[in-house]
Amino acid sequence: MNAENTPVVPDGVSELDVIGVRQGSFNIAGSGDTSGFGGLVSPIVMPGPSERPYGGWFDEVADEIELSLQARNLPAASVIEKVVVDRGEITFFVHRHHLVEFARVLRDEPGLRFEMCMGVNGVHYPEDAGRELHACYPFLSITHNRRIRVEVTAPDADPHIPSIVGVYPSNDWHERETWDFFGIVFDGHPSLTRIEMPDDWAGHPQRKDYPLGGIPVEYKGATIPAPDNRRAYN
């Protein structure tokens, strides 16, 4: 990318919410595309942080979390990076060092009572510098009938996130799966081994830099490339 087509981050958008750049209209470069669409460059902006009031019970949960953190001598600002309310869901971005304490607050505070953690899911944003690996934890409170999401980020260079298996034992396999597929090391997990891929597998298949694989298919003289090498819209 040269300086000429460096994408302009739109006004009012934090660089933190830009997770990548879309170039062109098709998935591949150098195909001799003369439509002009190949030169398109646009930033990919995820929904940005929300300001209070968040609406509905979101504020109650946020208040309760802040009070509980304060009671544990943790100022909310040092624990919660940002809060995103989007599409009727609330997401707390939490600094990874405070994740375990945060999970304990969610589980134990009577006003929160998130009895269940519905696992963890990795997402790899290779262009989100310094925050390439995201881990998303959906929480469910049966008592209050509420759902929230907690998101934690880690850089590719230091892919460590503390394990919350000690707080939510149900996350045992989920964390193993996320290690298996994304290479996120969950520190403190009782036995962080591969779960879906064979034990001697090299690489972490669901990262964006891991190819899909596949072989070209030949039919009646024409060759169809593997799915990740096909010309397609992006």
């Binding site: 929904p47 998303c136 992006n234």
Partner: protein, 451 residues
């Protein structure tokens, strides 16, 4: 051969499993192994450990599940699961296909509950698109109808395979026979018995066939009667109770700690059901009960499944009663899949009416058809989590979009995957035979576990 002389070079300290002999024609290695006493002698003071590897190819492990059991006599002291034998990379593959094509993948995950997989995925995509409120009433009713029929077919397989694994072969033949009735309905409505890719973002692929409502209604009495036969066969059956009562015990505390949902959680007495607590597809408007048991055991889960099937049929009847004519896809032509399928002389394909419309009536319709089929629609950046109550518990879809025509990341929180973690808690301290009953009562489907 008389000139061959055997000289034993077996010396202490050499490989006891493969001693060798020198002959005039060279060294001969003896691979017969050593004396069992010298091989198996345990070091002083250490108890004998027997580790049994059960599966992955085993008729009673409920699929390609590998159980690693440590035994003391016939008592299981340690139970661990080995999974991953059915991993197909569905989540990764979906990142290389359009949003609509994703349905074709997810329907194959938990192959006993295709409609739930599709519904969870489509609800998440619709949330991302912001069209949840625009899904036509008829589409939602058909979704509920198919999901509830699917719950019946899935529970029937749970009874059938669970019965087979415990030796009740008639339960298996009954269960699969009744399931066939439901699969016939699926075939009539979607064209396929399984993997139907019927629920699509925005609605369903096509309307019920003309005689669909009647065919479903006509099947219900037979299904009810036969389900009663299967239940009667097992409910008071002394052998069945002997194998399942107080087996696979997991109380509410254990369920909560391990994140267990579905019939296993309800067998511990908690009436948690997403259809009631966080309704989707209009479930709040249907009348049904959430059966629970307090026995925390495999027998309780069996009773819950029987009761749930009857509740599902109640919902199916309500669906049939409220089916009003109307569209089955959102109105937004930028999202709605354009094709209308029909059975032609040469098999199934686009209806002649649709082809006439795009080829000779409307230029825009042709453009939309072409763009939607080749490029697909784009979804604004963001992430969403949608959960449905599958027959096994909470099936959640976490879908991330980066604004493209293809998902950036899709992850499924499959209930089988999560619930299988309870195997150790349910079976350690029990007999080997009870492990089978415990796993069968979780009812994991390995296609969903491994995805």
């Amino acid at each position: 051969m008389s000139n061959v002389t055997y000289t034993s070079v077996e010396t202490p300290g050499e490989d006891i499993y493969a001693g060798s002999y020198e002959t005039t024609e060279g060294t001969i290695y003896n691979l017969a192994g050593g004396d069992w006493d010298t091989i198996a002698a345990a070091p002083e003071g250490e108890k004998e450990r027997i580790v049994v590897n059960m599966g992955p190819q085993h008729p009673s492990t409920h699929g390609v599940l590998r159980l690693i059991l440590e035994l003391d006599g016939e008592t299981v002291t340690d139970a661990r699961c080995g999974i991953g034998y059915l991993h197909t990379g569905i989540e990764k593959n979906m990142e290389f296909r359009t949003w609509v094509q994703g349905v074709t993948f997810v329907t194959r995950m938990d192959y006993l509950t295709p409609f739930f997989n599709e519904a969870a995925y489509c609800l998440a995509v619709e949330k991302l698109l912001g069209i949840t409120e625009q899904i036509p009433e008829r589409a939602s009713v058909i979704r509920v109808l198919m999901m509830e029929l699917n719950r019946v077919s899935s529970h029937l397989v749970a009874l059938a395979t669970g019965g087979m694994e415990l030796g009740a072969l008639t339960a298996m033949t009954f269960g699969f026979r009744e399931r066939e009735l439901v699969l016939d309905l699926f075939e009539m409505v979607t064209g396929l018995r399984m993997n139907s890719a019927f629920i699509r973002p925005g609605g369903v692929a096509q309307d019920l066939p003309a005689d669909g409502e009647k065919a479903i209604r006509d099947t219900l009495p037979l299904l009810r009667k036969r389900m009663k036969d299967t239940a009667d066969l097992l409910i008071d059956n002394a052998i069945w109770m002997g194998r399942t009562v107080d087996v696979g015990y997991l109380d509410l505390q254990g369920c909560m700690a391990l994140g267990i949902t579905g019939p296993v959680l309800r067998s511990a007495g908690l009436p948690h059901d997403l259809r009631k607590s966080q309704p989707y597809c209009g479930y709040e408007t249907y009348e049904f009960d959430v059966p629970t048991q307090t026995s925390c055991d495999a027998y309780g889960r069996f009773l819950i499944r029987i009761a749930e099937m009857h509740e599902s049929l109640k919902i199916v009847e309500q669906c049939l009663d409220r089916l009003a004519p109307g569209p089955v896809m959102v109105e937004d032509k930028k999202i709605a899949w354009p094709a209308q399928l029909a059975i032609g002389a040469d098999g199934q394909g686009n209806s002649t009416e649709h082809i006439k419309h795009i080829m000779s009536e409307s230029m825009e319709a042709l453009i939309h058809h072409f763009k939607l089929v080749t490029e697909g629609f784009t979804v604004p950046p963001g992430q969403a989590y949608a959960a449905v109550e599958s027959p096994r518990g909470e099936l959640g879809a976490h879908v991330v979009s980066a604004g493209g025509t293809r998902p950036y990341r899709v992850h499924f929180r499959d209930p089988s995957f999560n619930n299988l973690q309870a195997t150790a808690a349910m079976s350690e301290g029990a007999m080997v035979a009870d492990v089978i009953a415990a796993v069968a009562s979780i009812d994991p489907v390995m296609g969903g576990v491994d995805r």
